[in-house]
């Protein structure tokens, strides 16, 4: 069970949707209060450390740019602190977007450092990156982004594992001498997880390369089911076993003593997330080439995804819609455990990545949520896949 932090900017104004067109790319820097960010960093890092104390197996950070949705342009900075302040949980870095770094060797180096700093507790995630992050905030050509991304992963894996200095002569990166110091503690290399949003190529990449597919949908298990079904079909095509630990799934969760209390407590932070943190301009989501031809065809056919996108574009879902559609799972510990087990079994997912802080949730509520989950939900979910072995977990995370 993993605890995932998005590290959102928590003070976007109430009328954000009306006054600003996007939380991403061209967000008004005048909204940013450095004191709020500094305090948030301290609070958020403390929450990650607290999650380990509450029994969570992994602590997740990720990478986004030019936005108020997540304040981690460099997840590695956060991960290094988490690594230093924890001793047991896996440090799960669901950045780095390798295609954004030239040469990607830098990613191999920093991930190696993190694996050493955590003494072999690193999960190394390689997302393509959102369109906003890659094509707009970083100016990456969407037409070559995915090819560059694949090549970058190849380079990182070779840099970790080839014992001698070597030359890398790729389409996009040409480096006469590759010979990183330091190398990772985990051998041959840290587990690789690929965060994905439903692209056909990512399913195939994970299945063929034996990487974990970590589905990052904010739109609940119905949309998530389409993505996971596609992944499991790819696993079958690749001739691999259907070990549920090949997959991860992200889920918003709010636990309280009763269902009614949860309904009351989590409404505001969930509305903040879906109505402000996810308020982005449609002109920044679909740069030509970001979505592959195969994925374009599939998305054009997906009515569930289309419904979710339409709702998001027209003001965001209401609180009741979020609950009905499973975007957010809330309730008493028993209710949440039952629903999450259903999600895990329905999607056949071994790694549940829970978002127990979201939107503008207070530190007090985030800790209460985390503690209740850790003590009353997590124990009931720990063993649901006990007949399977997790081959994609860091060597020294316990």
């Amino acid at each position: 069970m993993l605890w995932f932090h998005l590290m959102p900017y928590p003070q976007l104004p109430e009328d954000f949707r009306e006054r600003y067109r996007s939380v991403w790319v061209d967000l008004d820097a005048g909204l940013l209060d450095p004191e709020v960010v500094a305090s948030s960093y301290e609070t958020y890092l403390d929450q990650l450390v607290f999650a380990e104390a509450c029994g969570f197996d992994g602590l997740c950070v990720n990478e986004h740019h030019s936005n108020g949705y997540g304040l981690m342009p460099s997840p590695n900075l956060m991960a290094s602190i988490v690594a230093n302040r924890t001793s047991r949980a896996a440090v799960v870095v669901l950045g780095n977007s390798v295609a954004l770094y030239d040469p990607p060797t830098r990613v191999a180096e920093e991930m190696s450092m993190l694996d050493l700093l955590s003494r072999g507790r690193l999960v190394s995630g390689f997302p393509v990156g959102t369109a906003m992050d890659t094509a707009y905030a970083y100016g990456a050509n969407p037409g070559t982004l995915r090819a560059k991304y694949y090549e970058g992963i190849d380079l990182v894996l070779q840099a970790w594992t080839r014992p001698e200095p070597f030359a890398f002569n790729g389409r996009f990166t040409k480096q006469r001498w590759v010979n990183i110091w330091p190398r990772p503690m985990q051998q041959p290399h840290p587990p690789v997880w690929i965060p994905g949003g439903g692209s056909v190529e990512t399913w195939d990449l994970c299945a063929e390369r034996d990487f974990v597919y970590a589905a990052l949908s904010y739109y609940g298990h119905l949309v998530g089911k389409e993505a996971m079904d596609g992944f499991w079909e790819a696993v079958e095509r690749a001739g691999r076993d259907a070990n549920p630990y090949r997959a991860g799934f992200l889920q918003f969760v709010g636990v309280a003593d009763t269902d009614a209390e949860a309904y009351r407590l989590y409404k505001e932070p969930a509305e903040y997330f879906f109505q402000r943190s996810l308020h982005f301009y449609p002109g920044f989501v679909d740069p030509p080439g970001y979505t592959s031809e195969a994925s374009v065809r599939r998305k054009l056919q997906s009515s569930v995804r289309a419904a979710a996108m339409t709702t998001q574009a027209s003001g965001g879902p209401t609180w009741d819609e979020m609950l009905e559609r499973g975007y957010v799972i809330i309730g008493s510990p028993d209710t949440v455990r039952e629903k999450l087990e259903h999600v895990a079994r329905t999607l056949h997912v071994g790694h549940l990545m829970t978002l127990l802080h979201f939107g503008n949730m207070s530190d007090e509520l985030a800790r209460q949520n985390t503690e209740l989950f850790g003590t009353k939900v997590l124990p009931g979910l720990k063993d649901i896949w006990s007949e399977h072995t997790d081959h994609w977990w860091p060597a020294n995370a316990r």
Binding site: N141, P142, G143, G283, P288, G289, L300
Partner: protein, 234 residues
């Protein structure tokens, strides 16, 4: 006595080439034959693989131009096609006898940044390219492929065009313009939202076409044809 057959090469703009613009049709009516090099991706066909870099695009351009068998001859390039036409004249001067550039990409002036054509919702991306409304022929492009495949084909052509200019459309032409030795005519729409007319000065002598948007040959065909005709006949 019939006129000598005359051929020009045409390289289209961001929205692709759905058929001759009225300006181009006017030149055809004058007796010009228009050769259209087939650049990768612009046909909307499945399986497009984006060239690795700009040199890859130029190589594809040279191959496509040679395949027409049209050169040496005048070259007319619009928008992204204008950028390619300019570089054709830079690197293959023997292939270009006269150069017509219609609001070419290739030089980016941050003081005249204009509208990012791809920071617009997908369904609305054609509109800012024109000042006088989107010609119907663009909406109908790929209709023959059917309801399911037409949007995919449009998306694929967008990939090709966007790849040529991502992220800001500067390909260093300012450093190479002095290599163009053939006569050139630069036309710019006064109402160009994508590359505002303030950028035109970077290309040297130019004419401003009043009421023209970025794809000015569609917005102001008479004025554009009227400017090109004497230049080609000179």
């Amino acid at each position: 006595m019939p006129a000598e057959p005359r051929t020009l090469i045409y390289l289209p703009g961001l929205a692709g080439d759905p058929g001759s613009s009225p300006a181009l049709a006017a030149l055809e009516a004058d007796g010009w034959t228009v050769a259209r090099p087939q650049l990768p991706g612009f046909d909307g066909e499945s399986g497009f693989r984006c060239p690795d870099d700009y040199l890859g695009w130029l190589t594809a351009l040279w191959d496509a131009v040679d395949a027409t068998g049209a050169g040496p001859c005048p070259v007319v390039g619009a928008s992204v096609g204008g950028m390619l036409a300019a570089d054709l004249a830079v690197f293959r001067p023997e292939a270009v006898t006269r150069l017509v550039l219609l609001a070419p990409f290739g030089i980016f002036d941050p003081d005249h940044a204009g509208l990012d054509p791809y920071a617009v919702p997908t369904a609305k991306r054609l509109k800012p390219l024109f000042e006088r409304g989107v010609p119907e022929v663009f909406g109908q492009r790929f209709a023959a492929k059917g309801e399911a495949e037409a949007p995919v084909a449009r998306y694929l052509t967008d990939i090709a065009a966007a790849s040529l200019i991502w992220p800001v459309g500067d390909r260093g032409l300012a450093n190479r313009l002095h290599r163009i030795t053939c006569p050139r005519l630069v036309l710019w729409g006064s109402a160009d939202q994508i590359i505002p007319v303030g950028t035109a000065a970077a290309w040297g002598d130019h004419q401003v076409i009043e009421g023209g948007g970025h794809l000015l040959e569609w917005d102001q065909p008479d004025a554009v044809a009227g400017a090109i005709r004497p230049f080609l006949d000179r």
